[in-house]
């Protein structure tokens, strides 16, 4: 059982079954880790913003560095117009980062390794960005699909490609995160299984590989959260500053 690398992604109910109409909204292990991640974020940042000292303590420094990191990321990619969306992108980045990082602890559940979670996030971003684009530019937002400086002959083809690439944004955004998390965790589980099955004689090689993979996966966990947030910023930039 332990050797099946996919069992770690199984969702199971914790507590009673809760049904609202025809929908099952039971509390599951996935829900548990969403709650844990959110609570952890809130606790860390609440502690980090509680008192303002000129020389910040460690947790305050952490909170303020994260704040300025995300703030810089947004202003670098989406400009000053993206300021109202700072809170959302900050929450998004922290949520994905904490879910990824909690998934790195053994015997935990990785929320972001489920396509439905990442897809809902990506779809929300996609719809939100599109709505913002149409509100800011009206139908002029459709100019996004017509790049300037393209020969007339190629224009129909380019427009079709642009529309497809625009529509595939939520899919690429969600699949990137989900696939990275799933692949990494599966690989670690497979190598962990090898350690057990090869025993004390041959298990050292996959064990050392597992250790190296853990480091890599922590990097990937951070990187994917960063990529998720920065792609959101780039999409937002398209919607806010329409220059194509």
């Amino acid at each position: 059982m332990a050797a099946n690398p996919m069992t770690q992604f199984e969702v199971y109910r914790i507590g009673p079954e809760i049904k609202v109409g025809a929908f099952d909204i039971s509390f599951t292990n996935a829900s548990l880790f969403m709650v844990i991640s959110s609570l952890a974020i809130l606790i860390v940042f609440n502690l980090g913003s509680k008192k303002n000292s000129i020389l910040p303590n460690k947790i305050q420094l952490l909170a303020e560095l994260s704040y300025s990191f995300v703030s810089k990321m947004i202003s670098d990619t989406a400009g000053s117009k993206a300021k109202p969306y700072f809170s959302f992108i900050f929450s998004l980045f922290m949520f994905v980062l904490f879910c990824n990082m909690f998934g790195m602890i053994p015997y935990t559940f990785t929320v972001t390794s489920h396509i439905i979670v990442t897809f809902i996030l990506a779809a929300f971003i996609f719809i939100g960005v599109t709505v913002i684009g149409f509100i800011k530019h009206g139908f002029g937002y459709l100019k996004l699909f017509v790049p300037s400086g393209v020969p007339i002959v190629l224009l129909p083809l380019i427009v079709v490609i642009e529309i497809i690439s625009y529509l595939s944004r939520p899919i690429s955004l969600s699949v990137r995160l989900f696939a990275n998390m799933m692949a990494g965790h599966t690989m670690m589980k497979v190598f962990g299984g090898f350690v057990v099955s090869l025993g004390i004689v041959g298990g050292w090689l996959p064990l050392s590989f597992s250790v190296a993979l853990t480091g890599l996966e922590i990097l990937v966990a951070f990187l994917q959260a960063y990529v998720f947030a920065i792609l959101t910023c780039i999409y937002l930039n398209d919607a806010l500053n329409l220059h194509h």
């Binding site: 099946n4 996919m6 992604f9 099952d24 809170s87 439905i116």
Partner: protein, 196 residues
Amino acid sequence: MFKKIFLYSLITNFFFTKKIFAAESGGMPQLDPEFWISQIFWLVLTFGVLYIVLSKLILPKISTNLELRKSQIQENIEAAEKQRESSEAKLKEFDGIILKSKIEAKNIFKDAREKVIKNINSKKEILDKQIDDEIKKAEMEIDTLRQSAPEKINKIAVVTSTEILKKLIGAEVNNSSISAIVDDLVKKNGDKYYGH
């Protein structure tokens, strides 16, 4: 022996691995829609709460904290700059005062020296004059004494001669004749006696 055990364990291990992997059921739990609605619900709930609390309560606080720190640091830097400037000005002032007082001290010294020299000179002149006067007076006195000396000596000589003669001879000798002799002697040997 060791080699044999190693190979044996390796083979059996692979056998076990194969057996374990053969038992796995295919498919990804992610594609099982049983808990999709639940996951969406809890995602929206937790993320929504996270977003609201962060954006309404925590992030503004961090923002004001950062801003406050920035302005405070800026203020401190400005205050330090001001203080530095004022201290520089004070240093300059101090240098000026020192320079001024040095010049003043020099002037005072010079004045005092001049005064002292003047004083010394005037006193010296007065003293010189006094000394000259004294010398002149003394010279004059000496001169008068010198001039009057031969007459007195002559008189003394006349008187003593008469007295001596009286004692020796026991008779009165005419004063005028003795003085005539003395005058004669003085005329003859006066240079020898008075150094004229």
